[in-house]
Symmetry: C2
Subunit: 324 residues, 2 copies
Amino acid sequence: MQNIPIVLGIDIGGTNTKFGFVDREGRCLADGAIPTRADLPPGQMFRRLHARAGELLAGLGPAVRLAGIGVGAPNANYYKGTIEQPPNLSWRWVDLRAELAPYYQVPVAATNDANAAAMGEMLFGAAQGMRDFIVITLGTGLGSGIVVNGAMVYGFSGFAGEIGHTIVDPAGRLCGCGRNGCLETYASAGGLVLTVADLLAESAAPSALRGLDAAGLSAKLVFEAAQAGDALALAAFDRTGDLLGWSLANAVAYTSPEAIFLFGGLVSAGDLLFNPTRRAMEANLLNIYQGTVKLLHSGVPAGKAAILGAGALIWTELAKGGPG
Amino acid sequence: MQNIPIVLGIDIGGTNTKFGFVDREGRCLADGAIPTRADLPPGQMFRRLHARAGELLAGLGPAVRLAGIGVGAPNANYYKGTIEQPPNLSWRWVDLRAELAPYYQVPVAATNDANAAAMGEMLFGAAQGMRDFIVITLGTGLGSGIVVNGAMVYGFSGFAGEIGHTIVDPAGRLCGCGRNGCLETYASAGGLVLTVADLLAESAAPSALRGLDAAGLSAKLVFEAAQAGDALALAAFDRTGDLLGWSLANAVAYTSPEAIFLFGGLVSAGDLLFNPTRRAMEANLLNIYQGTVKLLHSGVPAGKAAILGAGALIWTELAKGGPG
């Protein structure tokens, strides 16, 4: 076998940037990670990334050929190949194609990390064969990628699919985006912790979580308390699921997906999160949608999902005839 | 000119069913209307419709040829060609293709009336050339049609695009769908009247609308009072626009449309509705969407829009190679 095409998938995060070489079947042949260091100019990150990726590529031997690069990053714009005003990076504007051009002469495609996750689900995961689905990533915040008629929804702006920033309560919690009551301030790891704080304030019921200061609380601690049967921790998951389920029922009224996939750190809570979410979603669905939507776990391996998603993005573009 | 293809557009409403023959350029060559009489079996309506439509078609002479039929109807399913549990018709299930088969041997396509309106906007109206837009119909209720990547969003169920049935307040007004707090209970002609009733109850401020019983109130009366400067009527439009604008800002976070078109009876209120809606939408948009979305009037003539929309639906299907 010679000249096997592979792509480079890059996931730029607030702390670390992961990258890996992905073949057409969704195998990650080699991967690595470097600190993002968004306090320095983006060019420095791309130079370090190229150095490490070059070593990995050389290690794969002469049989492979780099066919394209996919990038997942917060606020990445699909049409422009830019990162614009990213919420978790101090960079204000990054032209990804210009940054990569000195090192690689291959097509580059970019989108936000949740859209990349949805591309990974479609090409390599549990959404294979589905034409209408939504991926919800539940981590620090809530990201989403929407697929309609078999294609990612980028919208007119290139930034479509920000369900985490739909406002569920105009008088609600302050969001990192500067507005109040965004869904992600409730349905996310951070939102879960805030809900625990609310519940602690609402009653004097005993809880293993009482007495921890706000900075000491984490979604992981809430999960462990819930697993140990702590009523307040369980109530926090229920309240989170109630609000998420209601919001997903609303999401169904837009694009009527066949499935909604939950993905990300908070999903490791399993039934603690899925059960109240599924119950609230079904209870809030308009009659014509009842029984038509599956709430599912992602089928992409969690550890490599961001790289596989970025890889799936550029594979999809190459199949269309290349981005740009 | 011989053998000019035309289509029959049918709009089935709670009271009347309108129909007309539409050419490829969106001209309505002849049209009529009959009472729907949903208290009788649907077959009776289609027999009467055929009798009247046949006369109109004969009147168009031998130069035209019927190429297809498009139907807009509440809860019409695009994939199945059925009407299912329509909210305003006592029919529970109608197989539109089977009903039309005895009379016409041409392709038939169906969707709900708001989706048909969006098809009309795309083919014949102000959305020509746009790939991502939303049409909101504001009448008795709130209907919506969502276009993504240049194609109508039907979703997995065939019923996508029911923004009027997103729940904006789980403890809110009872909706005709049996749930509470659907957007259409606030942002519609009926919702406007309910908001006036709320405002009348909230204060003793003088208003031309005070003293009318609930049954005597109508969106038209509220509009006339607002035009005459009635503060309470103006406040009702502001409150309606506030909630609609917030909801449209949320809608943008799903599909990031280039434009949102408002259409239907309530839109005749013009700036009284558009100004607060536009203001609230912009105020609630996530930063990456600000300035990217136009709020526009429909470009399809109101009187013929339902027929033109149903016609646009089947024209679009014929261009794809025919429905089914």
